[in-house]
């Protein structure tokens, strides 16, 4: 069975030879493993570990494509930048992390209409045709499942107005947030139309959409259905119209939103963050007949760098979630630099051993 066939079946919960395999890493990890001689420079994780999937982020969704990012302040450790979304973001120079949201030009509907909306047109400059073609060809040559990857509406809005203004806007002026949702959803579909017409379809669609944090989602299920779901339906219905399955990534605790995600059309939920309160086994019991899963293995067991701890975590979950043929092995977030190469190698090897049918 090729990787492509395996993932296609897993997303439909149909028989396969083994569970799937994929992973995300913090960039520091790649640098360290290369420096330590475990990975050869220029060799991808996909090639080294034999992953079943390959993604390509092909869209630039920053509002003003002509705006040159402007350095406002710089220290030895951080740099403060005004970007093409009108956002003032402080980034760490020493390590990889989400930037601090310092300020935004958009705080309400007026700011959105003035600074962002006029820029959101399906400009071909937003599309990395060459990158998409290269990764698609590479995945096809290696018979991997190839996904168009990118963010969906929730992750597209907060870079222009920040989480706090966006979430307050959902209460104070829901029609404004709905308008942002539908503008970004339509732009995503328009750009997909252009890309797929020129370069061909992927095998699936992967949306990154962090909608939760510790023990709770950012919004109620009702708010999700009223404000965010129309954008998810537009983008996911488009994917389905092309026969493409949809994988949805969300960090944080999003269990209360899962019924809404299923209504929207997702085929697989990824990444099932244990430390935020997500429970892979419970999700499998509740939704395993309708949904495939990727992730849910507590990454803290990996950076214990203790094989017994890693084995226990895998044995506690894999035999159950593999039953319905709908599981891809992945940590519950990304592999940080604290994880030794040997620990991760063991995780993959033992996971595949017990993940065979």
């Amino acid at each position: 069975m090729t990787s492509n066939e395996r993932i296609a079946n897993i997303l439909k919960r149909q028989p396969v030879d083994r569970i799937g395999l994929f992973e995300h890493f913090w960039p520091d990890t790649h640098r360290k493993w290369v420096a330590d001689g475990h990975l050869r420079e220029g060799v991808s994780f996909e090639d080294h570990f034999g992953y079943d999937l390959q993604n390509c982020w092909a869209f630039n969704m920053v509002a003003d494509l002509d705006f040159e990012p402007e350095v406002v302040e710089e220290t030895d450790e951080t740099v403060l930048i005004r970007d093409g979304n009108g956002a003032l973001l402080r980034r760490h120079k020493q390590h990889d992390a989400t930037p601090e949201h310092v300020d935004f030009l958009v705080k309400d509907r007026a700011g959105w209409e003035m600074h962002i909306k006029p820029h959101l047109t399906p400009d071909r400059r937003r599309i990395n045709f060459d990158g998409y073609r290269a990764v698609r060809n590479d995945a096809q040559a290696k018979q991997r499942f190839f996904c168009w990857g990118g963010v969906n509406v929730f992750e597209l809005m907060h870079p222009v107005c920040g989480h706090e203004y966006m979430l307050m806007g959902m209460a104070l002026d829901p029609d404004w947030v709905k308008e942002m949702v539908m503008t970004y959803a339509q732009l995503t579909v328009d750009l997909m139309e252009i890309l797929f017409a020129d370069e061909g379809l992927p095998d699936g669609i992967w949306f990154y959409e962090d909608m939760g944090f510790k023990n709770r989602p950012f919004m109620s299920p009702d708010m999700y259905r009223e404000i965010i779901q129309p954008g998810h339906l537009l983008t996911m219905n488009y994917a389905k119209s092309k026969g493409l399955p949809v994988i949805l990534h969300s960090c944080g605790y999003v269990e209360p939103l899962v019924p809404g995600f299923i209504e929207s059309g997702i085929d697989c939920l990824q990444v099932i963050e244990v430390k935020a309160g997500m429970d892979l086994i419970q999700l499998y019991k509740d939704y395993g007949d309708r949904l495939s899963f990727m992730g849910g293995i507590d990454v803290r067991t990996l950076y214990s760098n203790d094989r017994d701890t890693i084995r226990q975590e895998l044995c506690a979950k894999i035999p159950t979630v593999k039953e319905g043929f709908g599981y891809v092995l992945h940590s519950d977030h990304s592999i940080p630099v604290q994880v030794d190469y040997e620990s991760y190698r063991y995780f993959v090897d033992f996971g595949m051993e017990i993940g065979h049918y």
């Binding site: 760490h92 959902m170 709770r216 940080p336």
Partner: protein
């Protein structure tokens, strides 16, 4: 008087900022925390009564509902916004010493970590709970926490971290605070944290949500 304070508490809990605010829809056109607290001050209601019997009560109610997953972040943000509108009328009394906070709360995200949503939510709930909040921001070095504790000797401290890669910096921060000020209460929170980790690094308390931190520190300072 008690009816007015009840009305203010309701405005705080429901996130009704002022008469112009369209939120919540069922209170559209009604006076909000801004107008009602001004009215209470003008009528001579003691600022500490307004704080204790209206603001703290309203924020406590929303905090408990948040802990129970009955309300979500947008609701807490609106409650905090209405509380800030109310506090604008009370701040002069606290600055002049005519009214007193429950205590001082120093908060920051630990060194190496630039996340601030969780920290901001805790700061809002603590302020609504009657504490003076000293927000050190994000990416805060242990030395800065120590300096803040020296400047505010009776303060409690809150440390936030979102990343597994930065929570290790909490241990250094707790150690430095406890070395210079052993009696200072330190609470910790953030996505990757557990009670076990908090115990290991010598923190006094761990809370998975803002209300838990407020309840612990209210009891610690009383």
């Amino acid at each position: 008087m008690s009816e007015l304070l009840e009305q203010i508490a309701t405005c705080i809990e429901r996130g009704k900022v002022n008469a112009n605010s369209p939120y919540p829809p069922d209170m559209k056109g009604q006076e909000g925390a801004d107008e009602l607290v001004k009215k209470a001050v003008d009528e001579g209601v003691a600022p500490e009564d307004i704080l204790n019997e209206a603001l703290i009560k309203g924020m406590g109610a929303i905090g408990k509902k948040f802990s129970a997953n009955q309300v979500f972040v947008p609701d807490v943000l609106m409650a905090a916004k209405s509380m800030q509108a109310a506090m604008a009328h009370l701040r002069p009394f606290f600055e002049s010493g005519q009214a007193k906070h429950k205590g001082t709360f120093v908060i920051g995200t630990v060194q190496g970590d630039l996340h601030d949503i969780g920290k901001n939510l805790v700061a809002m709930v603590m302020e609504g709970g009657g504490f003076k909040v000293v927000d050190l921001g994000v990416d805060v070095a242990p030395e800065k926490f120590v300096e803040a504790v020296k400047a505010n000797p009776d303060a409690c401290v809150g440390l936030s971290a979102l990343l597994t890669t930065t929570m290790v910096n909490m241990e250094k921060t707790v150690a430095q605070i406890k070395e210079t000020s052993p009696d200072t209460k330190v609470v910790v929170g953030g996505a990757p944290l557990t009670q076990e980790f908090a115990d290991k690094i010598g923190a006094d308390s761990y809370s998975p949500d803002p209300q838990g931190a407020l309840d612990y520190l209210t009891s610690a300072v009383s």
